[in-house]
């Protein structure tokens, strides 16, 4: 089709009318963050992609119940998260997240601002392990706010809790992490 590309609202409206090509564009727009949401739950790359695929199919089936005035991304990611949770609920084992190898903050990018923090591999593993050990309600807000870089409002909509609860749980989660880190997490200058 010639002309300007459709914006998200138009894509949603077209997809709701049965235009699968419009929905395919929505998939492309959101597939990266959707895959991250799934990966943070299932901890396995291929399974995360399967979950993401199934969640998009489920989202398409549910488009008739999506309301235009609502933001699309949290609605979609909520479906992805639920799909991922359903896959892992019967499993008691949770793999660790993969960390990029060979990270070295000393040789960091000169373009980094003075406030920027680059964690070593060991620091990253240690911090992620502590986040994994948080009670689920705290872990969920930390994951969405910091690892998925979502706003309080989006986190609220995806987790289905009020924004105030996201704020208070985030604060309590950080305090728990701070206490658990204790003196083990040495501060580099």
């Amino acid at each position: 089709m010639e002309g300007r590309p459709l914006d998200e609202r138009e894509l949603i409206a077209s997809a709701q009318s049965g235009d699968t090509r419009a929905f395919e564009q929505l998939v492309r727009i959101h597939q990266e963050i959707a895959l991250r949401v799934a990966y943070l739950v299932v901890r396995n790359r291929s399974e995360a992609e399967d979950v993401t695929q199934d969640a998009f199919v489920k989202a398409y089936r549910s488009l008739g119940r999506f309301h235009d005035e609502s933001p699309f991304r949290p609605w979609l990611l909520r479906i992805v998260r639920n799909e991922a949770l359903n896959r892992v609920r019967s499993s008691t084992r949770r793999d660790r997240l993969a960390i990029q190898a060979g990270r070295d903050p000393v040789s960091g990018d000169a373009a980094l601002s003075p406030e920027a923090v680059v964690l070593t591999e060991e620091e990253s593993r240690q911090l992620l392990a502590l986040i994994d050990d948080l009670p689920e309600r705290y872990r969920a807000v930390v994951v969405h706010r910091y690892l998925l870089e979502m706003s309080e409002q989006e986190t609220s909509e995806i987790l289905g809790v009020p924004p105030g609860t996201v704020k208070s749980r985030t604060s309590r989660a950080l305090e728990r992490l701070r206490l658990r880190l204790g003196d083990e997490f040495e501060e580099r200058p």
């Binding site: 699968t20 090509r21 395919e24 998939v27 597939q31 895959l35 991250r36 790359r45 995360a48 992609e49 993401t52 695929q53 199934d54 998009f56 199919v57 398409y60 089936r61 549910s62 119940r65 909520r78 479906i79 359903n86 609920r89 997240l97 993969a98 960390i99 990029q100 190898a101 990270r103 406030e115 920027a116 923090v117 680059v118 964690l119 591999e121 990253s124 911090l127 992620l128 986040i131 009670p135 689920e136 309600r137 969920a140 910091y146 690892l147 870089e149 987790l159 289905g160 809790v161 009020p162 950080l174 305090e175 992490l177 701070r178 206490l179 880190l181 204790g182 003196d183 997490f185 501060e187």
Partner: protein, 256 residues
């Protein structure tokens, strides 16, 4: 010890430390292929027929049998307690055939596996639950075996059951179909509208967060107290009376 102002940037920095997966180039095409597959289309249509059938049974039978005053009270509960009630003439479920409450989990691990605040009775005589289960839809169910103060319900050896489920959205609504000869009382529990159902067994169905109808016919189906507090639906099942159920509610405290 690291201070709070230096911790937050470090947690944020984890975004760049994680080795994130990237979507395969054919992901979007696979999604569309699955959507356009005739087999999945049929599955969806079947699902819709089932959902409509369940809704119709619950609503129509409710209108037929409920008195006007009860209907009004039930309508009030629809929003307040997240539970919709109707009457049914279907045969009662076999009580306690298989409880099938989900996967057993440790009481101490409850906090780790759900993302809402679960509460438990703190009554010393009752003690901790004898079993805790996590259902497929995120419901946490605690059970206590029968004892003198907790007579067994039906054919089970369970004397008390407390199930808690996070209320995900306004669309996440429970339907409760009850038989004739059952007493329904509307009351207030923890400042919220609640309902006490006493008498014949009940069948519970609800819509999950994706609006898939889910039937639950494997509970104790004893006397039931239903209420919602702090965004969590509670269901307390017991052969005991309302007074004893409310006494248990008064002792509920968050696990952490």
């Amino acid at each position: 010890m690291i201070d709070s102002s230096r911790l937050e940037p470090r947690v944020s920095a984890l975004v760049d430390a994680i080795d994130w997966p990237t979507p395969s180039p054919e992901l979007s095409a696979r999604v569309i292929a699955a959507i356009e597959s005739p087999s999945t289309r049929r599955g969806s249509q079947q699902w819709r027929r089932t959902a409509i059938a369940i809704a119709t049974v619950v609503v129509v039978t409710g209108v037929m049998v409920f008195s006007p005053s009860t209907r009004e009270a039930v309508a009030d509960l629809f929003d307040a307690a997240g539970i919709r009630i109707g009457l049914t003439t279907d045969p009662a479920p076999t009580i306690g055939a298989v409880l099938d409450l989900g996967d057993p989990i440790q009481f101490d691990d409850v906090e780790q596996v759900v993302d809402f605040e679960v509460r438990a009775p703190t009554d010393e005589e009752l003690g901790p639950p004898d079993g805790v289960y996590l259902g497929d839809h995120g419901e946490v169910t605690m059970v206590w075996t029968q004892r003198q103060a907790l007579p067994a319900a039906g054919d089970t050896d369970v004397g008390l059951l407390l199930a808690q489920r996070q209320v995900d959205s306004p669309r996440h609504i429970g339907d409760k179909a009850i038989g004739q000869g059952t007493e329904v009382r509307v009351l207030e529990v923890e400042g919220h509208a609640a309902v006490w159902i006493e008498g014949t067994p009940h069948t519970l169905t609800f819509l999950d967060s994706d609006e898939n109808p889910v039937e639950e016919t494997t509970r104790l189906a004893a006397n039931v107290l239903l209420w919602e507090a702090n965004g969590v639906n509670h269901r307390l099942e017991t052969r005991g009376d309302l007074e004893s159920a409310l006494a248990i509610v008064e002792t509920l405290e968050a696990l952490s």
